[in-house]
Symmetry: C2
Subunit: 324 residues, 2 copies
């Protein structure tokens, strides 16, 4: 995911970046060097931002959950580094992936190192009961990510897996952690159970919206915006929501064509162009965009009754319109 | 490591195995199935045994830390699954490694899944302050494991890295977690700071002893005992303590020969036979065995003043004599 996470002037970003360096170390050995290389230049720091803004939304200080928030980014980047091994993807954020730069064995250990750096930073603070409850939420989410990644391997090339399987993958791979990041921020700030659940729901729906938008990018934008190749879904033979929606409403001829594309019988550039045609013809792009907007609207609605939600609301609005 | 962890009649083993299944799940999906395949048939369950026996040694009930103890085994097996990807090792515990059976991408996710299963189980219990302190000890140890694995890659083929580099790897890859397992058990059972430190020291020294013994196995036993090929160190070009000790005390001719072997210019079977000769000639096997016994003796001594340490003492004795 490469979500538009925050306005350029977000003052939390440099705080989070400094905290990330503090957690990982300054590059004393190969592990630290490669971990820093995976973290910087960073993404939009959506998950730590969500954690800190959620604390603020329930009356807490954003800075009081900084260390925990930065830890969530470590876990997120760890999962990206491992994902690029699983998908054999040479590109991440517009440059060579960690596996491509350092080797597969090294990238595996960078992922493991960032995971443990994250867990360690997470468990460092207090009070104990809140840290424990917040950490439980995060670990459940990271486990859901593993499960979803494995499910993704299972449905590779499988256009008949059904949209529920793909939505389940999106929920596990993205929405679980964005939801848990909000939940954790709320818990750490001493929120009520109702506030915690509302922010969790906000984070999940926001994550769904961003991920569905991201899955649309190969068909609606140029490569520059995602930093990934537009043809990578086809290259990985990974059915995404728009493709599944197209398959469900396609006629027999288009279904056969989609099947050929996803079994690698067509060269990548032709495949991508043909896929674009089928997706437009079947209305799949419009329908996926509609679903993303619906998730964003549910996220927005979940903020009712909370305070100081300016940035969270802005994020929901930007998820409704990916190019904002 | 394939330590002789417990007497055959150890009543804790079936409890730990049942708890592992409870944590991982019964094989509902590919992730659970592959995680169970990595866990069973199990090893000697040294780390959970250490955790439970440490609780007992400070007057606690072993069963009260069962869930936390089983979680440590999940983390340990996760690291083994990832190690076999890093080392491209097709064999683990005498059968195909997870990477070999399920594929590299799947094995990576099995490792991640076992890690998160472990963290989740670890954070589930209470009281919060003890769980947090015990979990911190474990996460520090797992981070040390990552760092040591990366260091191991750095010193591959490097016979001049010095024995301190190899000892540092052994400490990180094995002793850190055996030490932390003991520390965690003691913390969870409400031990005094002195008891906690004593048991931590015991666990570290025991781990050092077992790992040095394990590194000696390719030169002192047949393959059956380790479940790994005797030639795998040579195949991986990974200098171990006995090899480093041999290199340090070898004459120029033997040094050149060791260098040739570790740069892959000699076929594996010849390399292993030649290595055995050099190791015996230089006294490296005797010296490594002496160091293992010294660690085991320090482990034994650390138990002074603790109670109900029967099995811990037996483990230290068995580490002094690997074939007991």
């Amino acid at each position: 995911m490469t979500a538009t996470a925050s306005r350029p002037t977000d003052p939390l970003i440099p705080l989070i970046e400094a905290e990330l360096i503090r957690s990982v170390g300054s590059g004393e050995d190969l592990l630290e060097t490669a971990c820093l290389d995976a973290l910087f230049p960073g993404g939009k720091l959506l998950r730590p931002t969500l954690c800190m803004e959620s604390a603020r939304a329930v009356g807490g200080r954003a800075e009081s959950v900084l260390s925990f928030a930065a830890a969530i980014e470590c876990l997120h980047v760890a999962s990206l580094v491992h994902d690029d091994i699983v998908d054999q993807d040479p590109v991440r954020r517009g440059r060579a992936s960690t596996a491509e730069r350092f080797g597969i064995a090294e990238a595996l250990l960078v992922g493991d190192g960032l995971f443990t750096t994250g867990w360690a930073a997470m468990l460092r603070g207090g009070p104990a009961d809140r840290v424990l409850a917040a950490s439980r939420a995060i670990v459940e989410a990271v486990h859901a990510m593993c499960r979803a990644s494995m499910r993704e391997i299972e449905i590779r090339e499988d256009l008949a897996c059904g949209r529920s399987a793909v939505l389940e993958v999106i929920r596990g791979k993205t929405a679980a952690l964005t939801g848990a990041a909000c939940r954790a921020g709320a818990i750490l700030a001493g929120a009520t159970p109702e506030q915690i659940d509302a922010l969790h729901h906000y984070g999940e729906q926001l994550g769904m919206a961003f991920q569905i938008r991201d899955d649309l990018l190969p068909y609606t934008a140029d490569d520059a915006l995602t930093g990934k190749s537009a043809v990578s879904d086809v290259a990985n033979r990974q059915p995404t929501l728009p493709v599944l929606l197209a398959y469900e409403s396609a006629d027999d001829h288009d279904r056969r064509h989609l099947t050929e594309i996803f079994h690698g019988n067509v060269d990548l550039t032709t495949a991508h162009r043909d896929l674009l045609d089928v997706l437009a013809r079947t209305g799949a792009i419009t329908e996926a965009a509609r679903q993303a907007r619906a998730c964003a609207a549910r996220a927005r609605a979940a903020l009712d009754g909370l305070s100081a939600t300016g940035r969270l609301a802005w994020l929901a609005d930007s998820a409704a319109d990916r190019h904002q």
